[in-house]
């Protein structure tokens, strides 16, 4: 199991060829109270850098981009009923979707936890 991060403040947890994607604690703190999340349904093809999900806080709407390409195998249905899970457990129960990686090589360009922390500190 490995954990990766993007400059768009997403985390990607990889087990085998399945990646679980969510937004980081830093990102949820910046967004504030999350009131709505739209996640992709199983079977959706997403490509790296393309739209994958929508997250809306009280203040604003934000797009969540696919950090890597693949086929969505599950969207987190729990977020529909309780979007505040993204605030309370952004890197746990508040995950957005799982996808089957189509190009594991794309993981090479992502940050590890230390690199991401340094990136956030520089913001």
């Amino acid at each position: 199991m490995s954990l990766y991060f993007t400059k768009e403040h997403e985390w990607i947890q990889v087990e085998g060829d399945i990646a679980t994607v969510g937004i980081t604690d830093f990102a949820q703190g910046q967004l504030g109270d999350i009131v709505f999340v739209e996640v992709p349904s199983a079977g959706t093809q997403v490509s790296q850098g393309g739209d994958a999900a929508v997250v809306e806080s009280v203040k604003a709407a934000s797009d969540v981009y696919a950090p890597v390409s693949g086929e969505v195998v599950e969207g987190n249905a729990a977020l529909e009923a309780d979007p505040s899970l993204v605030n309370t457990a952004p890197e746990g129960e508040g995950w957005f979707f799982k996808l089957k990686l189509s190009d594991e090589g794309q993981l090479e360009g992502l940050m590890n936890a230390d690199e991401y922390k340094a990136f956030v500190d520089s913001q």
Binding site: G32, D33, V35, F36, E38, V54, E56, V58, K59, A61, P83
Partner: protein, 370 residues
């Protein structure tokens, strides 16, 4: 972030010390939130929230034939406005469009106006041009706080005894720990509450004293916006501007009966015609299906997908836990219960026209008991 050209509020350091996230608004660095918009919104509804609205313009107007002169720029019947009373009014163009919305208070020999922060300089220029015989004093050294919520009266009467006697839309001079304060029972949240005008040099002392009351927490602009939206109160620059008239904006309560009939204020001809013949569009409240906010700028569309109106404010209501909005819709679709279709970023939303306020007002009206 303070090097972006915005002015700072007298309480700037106080907000930062309280953990506020500061953002540019109306030309000032202002606190958008402290602990979080949702928590601050709910705290205000359930207890009492302290807002710094010192960016707003506070004006004192004096001069000869004052009532008549001021009536030449406002559609209000000032003859009905007794001493120490305030009412909502509007500055209008010759075409009847809204330059700003404001509160006007009769205070003895003068009128005290509170106008929006983003528009205050233009308002003052307009008033000086329209009323050359009057003195318009912009009280730049005056700060303005609002204490809002059902427990505001408990907190404020502890430090300013007597304010509990005020009823909605009345005000008077009080002292808060030795600081002279003009306090009115009014606000922008739909809750019972007060607005408190003190000299900028004293505002930190007053804010500290109020924030130390157990009922009170500081509240940012984010919750101020969601609270006023739930209360159905329009925000200038969003729901009102120089392309809207009071009739379109459903603010006809601000047009006093005598003034509608007699005229004598800017835009009367168009407004009288609209009162009689109706308008093409009207501001209404919308209950949007689902939780996803439909925000300012979203389109109101007809059955063919043509734009026939626009959402001017919208968001998630923390009280109702649902999406609500204000929009201008065709007059034929403005009746309560009418189904409205909205389009935002390529997605269609269903809504229906509902009466405003979305959340009932809890004003402390005269004769209402409690």
């Amino acid at each position: 972030m303070s090097d972006t050209g915005e002015k700072t509020l007298p309480l700037d350091a106080w907000h930062r010390a309280k953990g506020a996230r500061m953002v540019p608004f109306a030309g000032y660095q202002m606190p958008i939130q402290y602990e979080g918009i949702m928590a601050e919104h709910k705290w205000t509804r359930e207890s009492a929230g302290l807002f710094d609205v010192s960016h707003m313009g506070q004006l004192v107007i004096t001069g000869p034939n004052l009532d008549k002169a001021l009536e030449s720029v406002l559609p209000a019947d000032l003859g009905l406005l007794k001493d120490g009373r305030l009412r909502y009014s509007l500055l209008l163009t010759e075409d009847g469009a809204i330059i700003d919305d404001l509160m006007v208070t009769r205070r003895g020999d003068h009128f005290y106006l509170v106008v929006n922060g983003a528009t205050k300089d233009g308002d003052i220029a307009h008033l000086e041009r329209m009323l050359p015989g009057l003195v318009i004093d912009h009280m730049k050294e005056q700060a303005l706080l609002a204490l809002q919520g059902q427990k505001a009266v408990d907190a404020l009467s502890r430090v300013a005894p007597g304010v509990e006697e005020l009823t909605f839309m009345t005000g008077g001079m009080f002292e808060i720990d030795g600081v002279p304060a003009w306090i009115s029972r009014s606000g922008y949240t739909g809750e019972d509450g007060f607005e408190i005008s003190v000299q900028a040099k004293d505002v930190e002392k007053v804010a500290d004293l109020l924030a130390s009351q157990p009922e009170v927490k500081p509240i940012g602009l984010g919750a101020r916006d969601s609270l006023r939206l739930e209360a159905g109160l329009p925000l200038y620059g969003h729901d009102l501007d120089t392309t809207t008239t009071p009739v379109e904006a459903d603010l006809t309560f601000a047009l006093s009966k005598r003034r509608r009939e007699e005229g004598g204020f800017p835009g009367w001809h168009r407004i009288a015609s609209e009162l009689q013949n109706g308008t093409i569009t009207k501001r209404v409240g919308l209950a949007v299906e689902g939780r996803q906010p439909v925000r300012e700028g979203a389109m109101v569309v007809d059955g063919e997908g043509n734009e026939v109106g626009r959402v001017t404010s919208g968001g998630f209501s923390p009280t109702l836990e649902a999406a609500i909005a204000m929009a201008y819709v065709p007059l034929a679709s403005a009746q309560e219960g009418t189904a409205i279709t909205l389009a935002q970023r390529g997605k269609i939303f269903q809504a229906r026209v509902v009466p405003m306020p979305f959340v009932p007002h809890k004003y402390h009206r005269k004769g209402a008991g409690k």
